[in-house]
């Protein structure tokens, strides 16, 4: 990490934390419909104005952050929790079917997250759980591929050492050979993937395959905004700014940590 790169990392993290937790500061209930107050321009009471159903746009956008980044967070947790140990185990695996497993893993890892979303939503319909599972799987495959590759290198080094050791100490050497920099590389991978994930969640919501009616999502807000773009063109831009900010922040994070 260079000295100058540090401020970029902290800025990116701050932006992401802000988007994730700013919903605490939401002035209104994001679900509160009030037809009488439709499409109001920005004011002190409604800083971003209201949408076509009279809901406070600012509150909705802030809650959208909770949804999107909540999904991303769950994806990170699930993918890292399963992927790191699985990858290391796969790297040390010396059984048969390794060739086929490698090919399959490479093919699966080459599918971008969007394919996983399409496939999973196709099989299970759209929804929050489907999205999380699909994105976790997508991240998992890439993560396992990365971790396995690093683990294999360490394994080869470890076996050289093991040849000199004997019995119980072999197991210890194997276990202690966690690849260096692995956490950092995993975080870089997840950050760059998360940028895609943010864009994709919004994109799919936008075309109607999104999270579902219960949750508020930036893509859905943009769909609403598009319908009234003639009257209130800026309604599409608020969620867009947040989407862009988060995707950009994840990208910067991934790049700077490399």
């Amino acid at each position: 990490m260079s000295r100058t790169g540090n401020w970029r990392i902290w800025t990116a993290v701050s932006v992401l934390l802000l988007c994730a937790f700013a919903y605490w500061l939401a002035p209104h209930d994001p679900y509160a419909v009030d037809i009488g107050k439709r499409l109001l321009p920005p004011s002190a009471e409604y800083p971003f104005g209201t949408d076509s159903m009279g809901r406070c746009v600012l509150s909705r956008v802030l809650y959208g952050g909770r949804t999107t980044l909540g999904i991303v967070l769950l994806t990170w947790l699930a993918a890292l929790a399963v992927g790191l140990p699985l990858g290391i185990a796969a790297g040390f695996w010396r059984g048969r079917l390794r060739g086929l497993g490698d090919s399959l893993l490479n093919v699966l890892a080459s599918f971008p997250p969007i394919v996983y979303l399409i496939v999973w939503i196709g099989a299970w319909g759209s929804g929050m759980l489907t999205a999380i599972v699909a994105l976790t799987l997508a991240s998992l495959v890439s993560l396992v591929k990365l971790v396995k590759a690093r683990a294999e290198i360490e394994r080869d080094k470890a076996y050289v050492m093991c040849a000199a050791a004997s019995g119980a100490s072999r197991a210890r050497i194997l276990l202690r050979h966690v690849p260096p920099n692995l956490i950092r590389e995993a975080v870089v991978l997840m950050s760059l993937l998360s940028s895609d994930i943010v864009l994709m969640i919004s994109g799919f919501s936008f075309i109607g395959l999104g999270i579902g009616d219960g949750s508020i999502d930036w893509g859905a807000i943009m769909t609403d905004g598009r319908a009234v773009a003639m009257l209130r063109p800026e309604l599409m831009l608020y969620p867009l700014a947040f989407i862009f900010a988060c995707a950009f922040a994840f990208n910067v994070l991934g790049e700077e940590l490399k």
Binding site: G99, L100, S103, L104, N106, V107, S110, F111, P112, I114, V115, I118, V119, I121, G122, A123, W124, G125, S195, L199, S202, G203, F204, F206, I207, G208, L209, G219, M222, R226, A229, M236, L240, I243, F244, A247, F248, N251, V252, E255
Partner: protein, 313 residues
């Protein structure tokens, strides 16, 4: 020797693809969508339990899973992938019609991406000392952070509606294709442009560059005549994979531009929960990615062989 390697490679591809078909089959069977029920409801048959059971037998949805898979596999080998639950036309036919549309867009997009990536990558390095270089690099990162669907809608709204440059319906042929191709190309050009800048930076630290400078050759000449060709070749394998990404990315773009391509059909099938169509979509996407992966690996292998022949490390 070469034949043996090709045979092993082919076997590998077949086995992997078979594994993918099995996985997708299991996935579709595990999903809560019951194709029989969906079919019955869509075709306005009174969905009594018996009707559905009959349909299930007729559609081959009962019996042990492995047997079902075998049946499906044998039908697939004859290129029979079932019929769409919505239109009742053969799945393969439905997709066959859409392929040319997507292919044209992806091909056009590939050309635009290449040009855009080269321009952004080259400028990103050439201007790296000046603030304009920072702008170029910022554009590159921004390019991958802006949602494609927004670019598509904004583009449509501005170009088509406000400026009326294209009619939204109608306008066949190349003129119609290059709009979605452009939107598809922008994020990828940004992505590869950034990659190229990095590769150029590394290439310009090589020994031969230092020596060329010692001969008094200009930075621009060295960059253009020596570093750039090396960098482009190094990026060739990556670029081949971009075709796969383009096909996947085309789903949303095609939807927004109302292009009757593969992506649009996939989205429609997913919205309609049209199981046989969805299943085929998975296979199609898998096949596309496997193909591009192989091309990419082959390119990489060829580059390595070429380097070895030339006596490099």
């Amino acid at each position: 020797m070469l034949v043996r390697r090709a045979a092993a490679s082919a076997a590998d591809i077949m086995l992997t693809f078979a594994a993918v078909t099995l996985l997708s089959f299991l996935l579709m069977r595990a999903s809560p969508i019951d194709p029989a029920e969906a079919f019955a409801i869509r075709n306005s048959l009174a969905p009594s339990v018996e009707t559905i059971a009959e349909l299930r037998t007729a559609m081959g949805l009962d019996g042990p899973l492995l047997k079902q898979y075998g049946a499906w596999l044998s039908k697939a080998a004859r290129l029979d992938f079932g019929r769409s639950l919505v239109t009742n036309k053969p799945v393969l036919d439905e997709f066959a019609v859409t392929i040319p549309f997507t292919l044209r867009i992806v091909a056009l997009s590939a050309v635009m991406q290449a040009l855009g990536a080269i321009a952004l990558g080259y400028l990103g390095y050439r201007l790296k000392e000046r603030w304009s270089g920072l702008v170029v690099r910022a554009i590159a990162i921004a390019g991958v952070s802006v949602p494609g669907f927004y670019l598509a809608t904004a583009y449509l709204d501005i170009i088509a509606v406000k400026l009326q440059w294209i009619a939204i319906a109608g306008n066949r042929g190349l003129l119609r294709d290059w709009h979605p191709a452009l939107i598809l190309a922008i994020p990828m050009a940004a992505f590869y442009g950034r990659l190229l800048t990095g590769i150029l930076a590394k290439e310009m630290e090589e020994d031969y560059v230092v020596y060329a400078r010692c001969q008094g050759l200009s930075e621009g000449y060295i960059l253009f005549r020596h570093a750039l060709p090396h960098a482009l070749l190094a990026m060739l394998p990556n670029f081949m994979q971009s075709v796969g990404f383009a096909v996947a990315g085309a789903t949303i773009i095609e939807r927004i531009f109302s292009v009757p391509g593969i992506g649009n059909l996939i989205v429609t099938s997913v919205i309609n929960r049209d199981a046989p169509m969805i299943h085929f979509s998975i296979l199609l996407l898998a096949a596309v990615f496997m193909l591009t992966n192989r091309m990419s690996d082959a390119a990489r292998a060829w580059l390595n062989r070429d380097a070895a022949r030339r006596g490099e490390g």
